[in-house]
Every structure is written in C-alpha cells, then in structure tokens.
C-alpha cells in the first residue's frame, strides 16, 4: 500500500495541469458561490402578524387619515408575506424554518403613533441558524422600517408645518367639524401696525406695540426654518429585534467556512474518484486485486491520499484567508478535526463515484455534476421554498457530506455551535459511503 501511495503521488506530480486545476477551480467556485449567496433570495418569505384591531387601523394625524393596513402593502412589495394571526404563531414559523423571519405589529401601534409621545415598537424575529439568511432578513426589514419611518415623519412634519403655517399666516382651521378663524402672526402684525399709526406720536403704548411687533416678525421669520428642524425629528417607529436560534456568525467568517467547504469537497471528491477510476482505466486494478492489495486496502489508500491532500490544501487556504479575515488560531486543533472528518467523508463519497465509473473522465464529470447542486441545496435558506420542499432539501442535504462539513467548519472556525454533532454525522457518512464503494468494487471486477 505504501508503494501504491508513492506511485499515486508521483502520478500527481506528473500532472501539474490537473493539480493546478484541482486547487484553482474550487477556489473560483467558492468565491462565486460566496458572491451569489450574499445577495440573498429575491423575495423572502416572512411571517406577518398585524395585531392592530380593525377599528384602530385608521391613524388620524391632524385631519390626515392614514390607513396602517395600506402601509403594509408597501412592505409586501419587498417580501413574500405569510399572514399569521398571533405573535406565538409567527415565532413558531420562524423556529420551524418555514419562514426566514417574522414581523409583529403590536396592538397599540396606532395609539402610540397617534399620541406622538412614545415611539411605536415593531417586533422582528429571525432565525440566526445561518448568517446569510438572518443578515438578509435584517437588511430587508431594516430598510422597510426606514421607508415607513420616512413616510410617517414626512406626514407628521407636514401636519406640524400646517399648524405652524396657520400660526404664521392665519386662516381657517377645521376641528371636530367646526370652523375656526385663526388670526396668525402676519395679520396680527398688520393689525398692530394700523393700531400703532392711529396712536399719537410719543404715546407710551406705541413703544409697547413696537415690542410686540418685533416679536411677531422674529417669530414669523424663524418659523420658516421649522421645515429643516422638523425633518430631523426622531423616528416614530422603533424596531425590537429578537434572534431565536443559533449563534450569530459574522458573514465574512461564514463565507470563509463556505469557501473552505467547497474547496475541500472538490479536491477530495475529484482526487478520490479520479485515483480509483485511474486504476480501472489503466487495467492495473485487476493486477492489484489478485492478492497484491486487498480491495479494502486499495480504497483506504485512495481515501488517505485524497483526504491528506485536501486537508493540506484547505489549511493553506485558511492561512491565506486569515490574512484578510480574523480567524481564531487558538482553535486550530478544531479546524484540523473538522477538515479531516470532512475530507474523509468526501473521500468515501468520491470512492463510491470512482468505483461506479471506469474512467477518470466520467468519474470527474459525475463528481462535478453531483456536488455542485448538492452544495447549493445545502445552502437553500429556510423560508425561501415551500415547507415540504424544505424538509426534502434537509433530508437530501443530510445524506451528503456538504452540509455537515459546512456545520463542522463553521463550528471549528467561529465557535457558532458544538462541533461534535457534525463530526459524528461526517463519521457516519464516511462509513456509509465506504461500505457503498466497497460493495460497488465487488460488483465490478
């Protein structure tokens, strides 16, 4: 087996193009996937609970009526709403992964907006199970709330400006169906001017009227500035964010985990499948299994070759990425554990592929065709597809090593969860694929 391993290493050294491709290709794919994912799905499914009672849905701002339920339509242009009846239901949907997040508009929202004293608080729930998803939900909702705040602030400002205008210039004001005539500063000034001219010069009342007139002028000119002042008035709506599950991993570190997972997947699959298929393609397989090496020994040699190479490349890759992203080097032993388990599981899967195909070419093709969609599947955010489909996606993802690899590497790099579960999962997949490849080798002489 030692000689076989040395032979394989020599073959690799004589295929510099293949080795370069093997290292470059996954890195390019990893970067592309990273870009694609950070943009998020088009219209995420978000649970929406509007608890404001029907009767209170009209907001009266200084005679301007604002229908809060109409305001929701604007939000629905950016998300795909799943209407729920209660806060509890919204929370449950997030926990189950049926939706990406939930927005709850509490009962007292209109009351608070009406009073203008307390800001109204909207609750947002999201699942932090993976940072791409939660980041996307947070960004979407944040921008929506900012839009709503802008709209409300504008309206409030308009109402306030109307009042101020009334004070400055005077006019008719409608309150509870009754008309009032408001004098206004401008008219007051004019009236005062007329009154002043009728007073005899040197009358002490004239000086007093001058004082009042100066105040009115000052007040009127300064009220013109109120526009800007009002625009900067604080936010009428506040958002309280609640994270339900999982620890938050910064997106950049998570991208590193994805990049490393994709690389280790490609390198190990292609090497294991290719090296085994090559034995068949060159006919040497038949010589070897005539008592020179056992079939199991042959599989172990290929698994070791692929896993060790992939481990080395991914550690170098991590060290390189470490120059740009903060990595926790004190967790190095966990990195090695996660990467090694992932590499072995992928190697076993690669061997199954290599055992099924007889040529290197078809083995490589099958590896790429299988692994790309599986990696994408594992990255499908909950709530971006229907719940039934999402469950199916979960099951399929659990049968292949990509998802547990991502979990293990994320755990090792970012301390986002326990690494034990993913490691056991990978060990189970290693055994399952190992047995499958051994059976496949038996079937084909």
């Amino acid at each position: 087996m030692r000689w076989l391993l040395l032979k394989d290493l020599r073959l690799l050294r004589r295929s510099p193009l293949l080795v370069t491709l093997l290292v470059l290709y996954p890195i390019v794919i990893a970067v592309l996937i990273g870009f694609a994912l950070s943009r998020g799905p088009d219209k995420p499914q978000v649970a929406f609970a509007n608890l404001v009672p029907e009767s209170a849905s009209q907001l009266d701002l200084g005679g301007e009526r604002l229908d809060t339920s109409r305001q929701a339509d604007v939000l629905f242009r950016a998300i795909d709403p799943v209407i729920v009846k209660s806060r509890a239901e919204a929370v449950r949907k997030v926990r189950d992964g049926d939706v990406l997040g939930a927005i709850v508009i509490p009962e007292d929202t209109t009351q608070k907006l009406q009073s203008g004293l307390d800001p109204a608080t909207i609750e947002v729930f999201y699942n932090a199970e993976d940072p791409i998803k939660s980041g996307y939900v947070r960004d979407t909702i944040k921008s929506q709330v900012a839009d709503a705040n802008n709209a409300l602030t504008k309206r409030l400002a308009k109402v306030a400006l109307g009042f101020l205008d009334l004070i400055a210039t005077g006019g008719q004001y409608n309150f509870l169906g009754r008309q009032f005539d408001v004098l206004g500063l401008e008219r007051s000034e004019r009236i005062l001017k007329e009154a002043r001219s009728e007073l005899p010069a040197g009358s002490p009342a004239r000086a007093q009227i001058d004082q009042v007139m100066r105040f009115a002028t000052l007040a009127r000119t300064n009220l013109d500035l109120s526009d800007d002042v009002l625009a900067s008035v604080g936010t009428p709506i506040r958002v309280r964010q609640v994270q339900l599950d999982g620890a938050a991993t910064p997106l950049s570190s998570f991208s590193v985990a994805i990049a490393v997972s994709v690389s280790i997947m490609f390198i190990t699959l292609l090497l294991a499948a290719g090296a085994l298929a090559l034995e068949r393609e060159e006919n040497a397989f038949l010589r070897l299994v005539r008592g020179l090496v056992s079939r199991t020994g042959l599989l172990l040699e290929k698994a070791g070759l692929a896993a060790v190479s992939a481990l080395a490349v991914s550690l170098v890759m991590l060290a390189g990425l470490g120059l740009f992203v903060d990595l926790q080097w004190d967790r190095f032993h966990l990195w090695v554990a996660g990467l090694a388990a992932a590499a072995l599981a992928f190697a076993a899967m690669g061997l199954a592929i290599g055992a099924l195909t007889k040529e290197v070419r078809s083995a490589s093709l099958l590896c790429v065709m299988l692994s790309l969609p599986l990696a994408f599947l594992a990255l499908v955010p909950s709530g971006s597809v229907s719940p039934v489909l999402y469950d199916a996606v979960q099951v399929v993802s659990a049968v292949f090593p990509f998802k547990p690899t991502l979990e293990a590497i994320d755990a090792a790099l970012n301390d986002s969860r326990s690494i034990v579960g993913p490691l056991l999962h990978l060990a189970a997949l290693f055994c399952a694929f190992g047995v499958a490849s051994r059976l496949a080798l038996r079937r084909f002489a």
């Binding site: 000689w3 076989l4 020599r10 295929s15 040497a284 038949l286 010589r287 070897l288 005539r290 008592g291």
Partner: protein, 250 residues
C-alpha cells in the same frame, strides 16, 4: 469423429507430470450469453498448453477465471491467484510512470526479495534497457506489451497465464518471448497461453485446447488435432484447426 475431449488429455508416452493447475466445470454467464459452458482443464509442471479458438470463443474469460480475477458462476480452480502469474490481453500499466518505475512498483507489490535486481533482469529480458526512463504512454504498442509481459513474470510463480502475449510483437520479439517461455517451462513452470497464431501453437505447445462458443471442443497434442480431422502429411495445423471447427459447425 466426435473427439471425446477427456480421451485425449495426455501427450502420448510421456509420464503424467504433477498437476499444478486444475479447473473443473467452469461456467461463466454474462446475462443471457454463456461465455463458458462447463470447461475443465489441467496443466502439469513444465507443461506448455495453448488455448486456440475464434474471436469471442471464451479464451480471455477462461484465463481471467484461472487468474482469479473473475469468479465463475460454477466450477472451481486451484491454486489461488497469488500462485499464478498473469499477463492480460490489454496492457495493465501506469502510462505516466516510466518503464523502470512500473517494473519497480510491481516488483515491490509482489514482494520480490531484490526489487532492483529484478527490474534489471526484466529490462534485459525485454530489451528495453535504453527506454527504462521513458514513460509508458510514449512507447509503441509492442513495447508496451513487452513491459506488460515482464510484469506478469515478476512473481516467478509455478503457473503462468498469458493472454495473446505475442499479438503485437515483431518477429524478433516474438522469438525472444518464446525462448523465454520455453525456458520457464523447461525449469518447471506450467504455462497456459492463448493465441491466434496457430503456427506458434503447433511449434511449441505440448497440448492445444480448442475453444469455441464457450465450449471446450478438443484437448490434445497438435498431432492428435490433425489426426482428428483425418489430416496427414505436412499440411499445417492451421488447416486442421479450420477444418475441425468447420466440421463442428463453427
């Protein structure tokens, strides 16, 4: 005319050599097709047996079963694969390794006591000493076949199976191959060899096996095969072989 195969298993007069290879009732099916239908044979120490038959007759199937690569659907073979040297019809070599590296790798896997000396010996035998450092993909088909044969000889087992070893060799190389194979047989190795070159079989074989459609139609010395078709004089075995097959509807 109906030659009972078992009636002619032994070359005349010579004492029965100790049997080192034995196979009984070998059956191999590939789906509907029966590649072998109950073939039995044996070979003794130092005996040279050639297997002849048309394309698709089952020669390769028989040899791969004897080599322990394919399991038969029925029947048994002894000894096990470790005690049998095997030269496959399709070269089984690593194209990206050099001639010497291929020989060295298999010498080590065969656990030869002195791998380097064995490599030197095989390079001399194949006359490829000057190509030792060339990658096998860069060799001609015949030279590749020479390396392929050499690897089958590395283990120096007491039984040697060769599947059409001379097919792509030039006459001089073919002569060298036969010299070597006859030398092995003289030293006691039992050799079973398939070929389409009937002249070779006639010249060198102690015994020929005629296989057609998976059936063993004849086993005996070349002379007995000629007699079986009533041939006399100095006509070649090739004519006798064709006539024999024709008489059996092949």
């Amino acid at each position: 005319m109906a030659a009972d195969p078992t009636a002619a298993t032994r070359p005349e007069s010579a004492p029965a050599p100790a049997r080192v290879l034995e196979a009984e009732g070998l059956v191999k099916r590939y789906g509907e097709r029966e590649a072998l239908r109950g073939v039995s044979l044996s070979a003794g120490r130092g005996e040279l047996v050639t297997v002849i038959g048309p394309n698709g007759a089952g020669k390769t199937t028989l040899l791969t079963i004897l080599a322990g690569i394919v399991a038969p659907d029925a029947g048994r073979v002894s000894p096990g694969p470790r005690e049998v040297g095997w030269v496959p019809q399709q070269p089984a070599l690593y194209g990206k390794l050099t001639v010497a590296e291929n020989l060295r790798l298999f010498a080590r896997l065969e656990r030869c006591s002195e791998p380097e000396a064995t490599v030197e010996r095989m390079l001399a035998l194949t006359g490829l000493g000057d190509r030792a450092g060339d990658q096998v993909v860069k060799l001609s088909g015949g030279n590749r076949q020479r390396v392929n044969i050499a690897i089958g000889l590395l283990g120096q087992q007491s039984v040697l199976l060769l599947d059409e070893p001379s097919a792509s060799l030039d006459p001089r190389q073919r002569e060298r191959l036969w010299e070597f194979v006859l030398g092995l047989a003289e030293a006691g190795t039992a050799v079973v060899l398939s070929t389409h070159n009937i002249q070779e079989a006639e010249r060198h074989a102690d015994r020929v096996l005629v296989l057609a459609d998976g059936e063993l139609l004849f086993t005996g010395s070349p002379r007995r095969l000629k007699e079986a078709v009533g041939q006399e004089g100095d006509e070649g075995l090739e004519e006798a072989f064709v006539a024999f097959l024709h008489a059996r509807g092949h």
